[in-house]
């Protein structure tokens, strides 16, 4: 005898493979057996808390009491909308990602508690630098690398506006924890960040995003991944200019023409001269000018200490100010304990020269870099990207880009681009 199926079918076979409702001990005990480093009592306590929470959710959704751990959700009055409601509440409560047919496959509190415990345990295997922002969702994970502050706060704001199905993982800086030593170069950091990424997603294609200083890291990560034969489906930078040494040389030279703190007006002969040098250096990397510029920059004694700029000036080149040292800027923005890490990250970015990238790149930009790359909407990245480079304008400026209103638009534009990516859905 076949019963009516009153809601949509739940799997390819039509009927969801439900767990047995009368497993009184099976799931929980099996799970406890699998755990290491945790006593059975601790695990039971954890499961009990989960079961209690589930009981509460069931009562709220089904508006019934006297529920037992082995009651079937649908026999207790749940329908398809109730099942999804329960599922999204479980996901919100435990920050885990589960497929849409989960409640059909695990219709009892006991089986659901076991599933939750199993999923909660998964993140323990992540690399220490991975900060899960949203583990929920069936879409490919988006990896977001910290800017110069070393933390992933901007991406938390961004994730709030992205599709709930979009998993987002932040990568924090080494050195954020007091016991850690910061990396010595972008390349060294990128190698470790790739190891971190692979603890979440073992193989490509990868989806990478970097804001401000984080752009430099994701660019290097993309280069190394590609070199290793991994596929990158999405490489996007947010509001940043290319960190090429000639840019820094340009800044140093312009500094000679002003001693004021105000944004300076660059004499036209200097402007054209530098622009010529920059263009020549970018197009003749194998010639003499380029190494000369690099040497000039790298041998400038205490370059970071002498050049004073805001983060936007340093990284995006939107404004150039001159005058007293960078320490004032650091002091105004970061607590003392964080400054060594920020200094280290800035230094690494300043000393980094990207290689040519053969893939595609998307730049979300609040506008051209009028000082360092005037007339170049790619803000210097064009010289390093051999694939397609797409520039997407976003509202606000470097400081206001993550305000609620602007962040929402940025998220929509990122989502639009992700949807255009092959194999994303």
């Amino acid at each position: 005898m076949i019963f009516f199926i009153e809601e949509i079918s739940k799997n390819n076979a039509g009927i969801p493979p439900r767990e047995e409702g009368n497993k009184k001990t099976g799931d929980a005990c099996n799970f406890i057996d699998q755990q290491e480093g945790m006593t059975g009592q601790e695990m039971l306590k954890r499961l009990t808390m989960t079961e209690e929470k589930l009981l509460q959710l069931w009562e709220e959704i089904l508006e019934i009491h006297d529920i037992s751990l082995d009651d079937d959700f649908f026999q207790s009055g749940g329908n398809s909308l109730d099942a999804i409601t329960l599922l999204v509440r479980i996901q919100r409560e435990y920050q885990i990602s589960l497929p849409a047919d989960t409640i059909y496959r695990f219709p009892t509190i006991r089986s659901q508690a076991s599933l939750i415990a199993e999923n909660l345990n998964k993140h323990d295997n992540y690399h220490r630098l991975i900060v899960p922002i949203n583990k929920v969702g069936r879409l490919p994970p988006l990896f977001c690398v910290h800017p110069i502050d070393g933390w992933i706060g901007h991406y938390r704001d961004l994730s709030g506006f992205l599709n709930r199905e979009q998993p987002v993982y932040g990568i924090r800086a080494q050195g954020w924890e007091p016991t850690e030593t910061p990396f010595l170069s972008i390349q060294e950091a990128a190698r470790e960040y790739i190891r971190a990424i692979k603890t979440v997603q073992e193989t490509g294609p990868y989806y990478l995003l970097g804001f401000s200083g984080g752009a430099t890291y994701v660019f290097e990560i993309a280069l190394q991944l590609k070199k290793n034969g991994d596929k990158i489906n999405f490489l996007a930078l947010i509001d940043t200019s290319a960190p090429v040494p000639e840019v820094r040389a340009y800044k140093n030279i312009t500094k000679l023409f002003s001693s004021s703190k105000q944004p300076m007006k660059i004499p036209s002969f200097a402007y054209h001269g530098i622009k010529y040098l920059k263009q020549r250096s970018l197009t003749h990397k194998n010639g003499k000018i380029y190494p000369l510029l690099v040497t000039l920059v790298r041998t400038s004694s205490g370059i970071i200490d002498r050049v004073s700029e805001s983060e936007s000036g340093t990284i995006t080149g939107l404004s150039v100010t001159t005058g007293p040292d960078v320490e004032k800027y650091l002091a105004s923005k970061f607590p003392e304990s964080q400054r060594p890490l920020v200094r280290s990250i800035m230094k690494n970015i300043w000393n980094y020269t990207p290689m040519d990238y053969s893939g595609n790149l998307i730049l979300f930009s609040t506008g051209e870099d009028q000082v360092l790359f005037p007339g170049d909407p790619t803000r210097g990245w064009g010289a390093y990207v051999k694939g397609k480079l797409t520039v997407i304008n976003v509202p606000g400026d470097h400081g206001s880009l993550f305000s609620s209103q602007n962040c929402k638009i940025l998220a929509e534009k990122i989502e639009e681009r992700l949807l255009m990516t092959d194999g994303y859905q």
């Binding site: 005898m1 076949i2 199926i5 079918s9 019934i64 999804i84 199905e165």
Partner: protein, 255 residues
């Protein structure tokens, strides 16, 4: 008691005409579902209740057993009323006594009538809430019907983020605040109806994108839906029911 009295007193019968040559029919049963038409039957449990003694005798032993498994007595009773009345209605289409009707499982997992080869082209789709039951019937073409009660306690935003496409979410967001709840349930029931019509998995819900067709007025006509990797043309009809219910019907003329 004659079941025809139940039909007369309790059931609303509505015939949708697609008015298109896209849906052509073949032979039909006693209640005639003519080519290109869809029969919709609906009833409130409160009206069926007085016929419980009769309806409860029409269901199979297996259905009786299943009914007994519900935790809430109200669910048990509604299950029996629902399955009894469905047998009454379908019996008219395949010239069979309600208690004699047998069901088989289609490849997709949907239930199908086992009419012994007499009326192989009759298709149906059943949906219900705790107040109403609704049954859609067609000839030849797979039908999906979903009725939903617009419960304001539903966590709209989270479900939207989880199961709706970005286009659908943007569309809901554009509507005025007072209308968002209704628009959510419209999209939900449309998606359910589309998946039922195609025998698709619940995990495919996000793949059924209705953002390209939905408008402020209820849909009624032929629409192309992007489902998974293919475009499928459906006849779609939406209607608001009383007491905060919304109903969506999707018929797949290709099948």
């Amino acid at each position: 008691m004659d079941t025809s009295k139940i039909v007369q007193r309790c059931l609303h019968h509505h015939i949708l005409t697609t008015g298109s040559s896209e849906m052509k029919g073949g032979s039909s049963g006693g209640q005639d579902v003519s080519a290109g038409s869809i029969h919709i039957w609906s009833a409130r449990y409160s009206l069926l209740e007085r016929y419980y003694p009769l309806l409860s005798t029409l269901i199979s032993p297996e259905e009786t057993q299943k009914a007994a498994g519900f935790k809430k007595p109200g669910d048990t009773r509604r299950y029996i009323l629902r399955h009894g009345i469905v047998r009454v209605i379908l019996g008219q289409y395949i010239h069979e006594d309600p208690e004699e009707i047998r069901f088989v499982k289609a490849k997709s997992g949907k239930p199908d009538l086992d009419s012994g080869g007499k009326f192989p082209d009759v298709r149906f789709s059943l949906s219900h809430t705790d107040e109403m039951v609704c049954l859609g019937i067609t000839r030849n073409y797979e039908i999906g019907l979903d009725i939903v009660k617009t419960n304001p306690r539903t966590p709209f935003s989270e479900i939207e983020q989880y199961l709706f496409t970005p286009g659908e979410r943007r569309w809901i967001e554009r509507t005025i605040l007072e209308q968002r709840s209704l628009q959510f349930f419209r999209i939900w029931s449309l998606k359910e109806a589309l998946l039922k019509a195609t025998g698709s998995d619940v995990t495919m819900m996000k793949e059924a994108d209705v953002s390209g067709i939905i408008t402020d007025t209820f849909l009624n006509g032929f629409y192309t839906i992007h489902l998974g990797k293919t475009d499928i043309r459906f006849f779609i009809h939406e209607c608001g029911c009383d007491h905060g219910h919304h109903c969506a019907i999707a018929v797949n003329p290709g099948k």
